[in-house]
């Protein structure tokens, strides 16, 4: 199904029916009134995971397995980054009264739900999202077949909505190569 969907999505992009898959360097939207500056160009690979909800956009430089940035552009309370597969398999949900730590936990639990294993966070630190406070943290995880991954993420709650930037890539080569560029993107997020 996923492959079929991928092929479908790809063909839509190739025929120009869907929104452009290529995102040139410059300003990208993080939801109404919010944005972020990118240095290089990125591809929109949101279609690679069919369970993402509307607020989610996924960018990649070299393909989702090699690097990806999951953007959450103003998630409403009561919603998750993922749609539940069915009623008996609920997904992690953002709630209006979540503490900062619970926002971090939402990122960890969502990545786990996506199939990443041993997802851990470290080095919680203060950051800013425009005039608002944000939390930045490091991530480590493994793929199901044992590849080590590293990441950085940032969470901010503004007017009851959640804004996330989650960068994850293989620890070897891909993460260190893009780390500084992604941190600059996060620093520009507002």
């Amino acid at each position: 199904m996923r492959k079929l969907f991928t092929i479908l999505a790809l063909s839509l992009i190739l025929t120009g029916c869907a929104s452009s898959g290529l995102i040139p360097a410059g300003k990208i939207s993080l939801g109404e009134g919010h944005g972020m500056m990118t240095q290089g160009s990125w591809s929109d690979v949101t279609y690679a995971e069919r369970r993402y909800t509307r607020a989610v956009q996924v960018l990649s430089r070299d393909g989702p397995l090699l690097n990806q940035i999951i953007l959450v552009r103003g998630l409403d309370a009561g919603k998750g980054l993922l749609r539940p597969a069915d009623r008996t398999q609920p997904v992690p949900i953002f709630r209006a009264d979540q503490t900062g730590r619970e926002q971090v936990e939402l990122v960890v639990e969502t990545l786990s739900e996506l199939g990443y294993r041993q997802v851990r966070f470290a080095q919680l630190r203060p950051a800013s999202f425009g005039p608002d406070k944000a939390i930045r943290f490091d991530l480590t995880a493994r793929t199901e077949d044992g590849l080590n991954l590293s990441g950085i993420a940032q969470a901010a709650r503004v007017k009851g909505e959640l804004y996330l930037v989650i960068f994850i890539a293989p620890s070897e080569h891909y993460f260190p190569t893009l780390k500084a560029e992604v941190e600059a993107m996060m620093n520009s997020a507002h």
Binding site: T88, V104, Q118
Partner: protein, 424 residues
Amino acid sequence: MIRTVSALALAFCLWGSALAAPAADTVMRSANLRPASGSPEAGLWQASDEAETYARQSADLDSDPVLGAYVRNLICKLAPEYCGELRILVMTRPVLNATAAPNGYVEVYSGLMLRSRTESELAYVLGHEISHFARNHALAQWQRNKTRGNVTLAIQVGVSVVAIAAMASVANSGDFYAPNKIDYIGDAAQTLSDLAYIHGLATYFAYSREDESEADRLGQIRAHGVGYDPWAAPAIWQSVGAEVRASEYPEVRKSLARATIFDTHPLTEDRIEALKRAAGSTPHQTAEESRAEEQAYRAIIRPHLAVWLRDDLRRRDLGQSLHLISRLEAVGEDLGLLAYYRGEAYRQRHRDGDLSSALAAYRLSITHADAPAEAWRELGEAESRAGNAPAAIRALETYLTRAPGSEDRWLIESELETLKASHS
């Protein structure tokens, strides 16, 4: 057909248990059985080899040598005749399962170890799997499928033998990621809806009712033969059934098969009754014996308890998690840790009334010496939500004292400042 099988039935006569020995014509596979390459059976072994390679690189593979040695010793005690050829992998996965592939690689899930009350219960389930292995049930099922033309169906939708093996290991896992993984591994679902596809896989790899009953019986005899309590056999199936019936979700309660070992080992009431009848004349353990066995087993799994419980909460089925925690609490040990995870289960569900249930659980947790430092942090957050600022401040400060190097120190410190500012 495999012609190299040899009778090991004689060995059973030496066990001298209250349980009837297997019938003399119950033929067990010979040690180091490997069909000649090119034979029809060789494909199944090759598929098992591929599944093993896949499992060995899995991030779920547990690396604790102590736990690995414990499981290996237990399996060798249950099946000395196969000890040399069985390769045991402990997998950190929050569902009750174990598998023994025809090529001799064995997966034992943390979810099984967490749900076993005693070593006797664990030994019985492992004995059950070893019996499927010893009686070549997977091969019989494979041959039945071939006659029914299911293999043709599988090949038609583009599933290679290797993919079948990988999917078998996933489908057998009862893993909640299974739908995605099967999708990913097989790429075969293109012409079928996911649900029909997964159902088809479960049918494809499920053992027959007869094979299940036989594995129950032989597993119980095997475990009892080396000294384990035969009443543990019906007991673990009963308690796992009770856990599923405690689910949040009516769909799960109705279907025992969902996300448990029963996907591929269908459980029926008559299987439990048969195990009780077989244990028949064997006296039950005394309360002291039972307690001693529970405590000895808890000491084995204690180092992993926190990680396994956290994984269990990822199922997001509060009913089942609370049932499991209650069972673990019945042993009377690890009460601080268990109360903490009870609180976590309520906090994560977050329905009406759950906040006060979580608060009560955290308050109880910190009265026990084994409460994890996080219990004070979550108690602090819960007190803060309940509007008890002084209690929240006390609890969060205790957390920082007890976990001085914690990754979230900065965040808790800033929360404390806010709390103190609003309270003064």
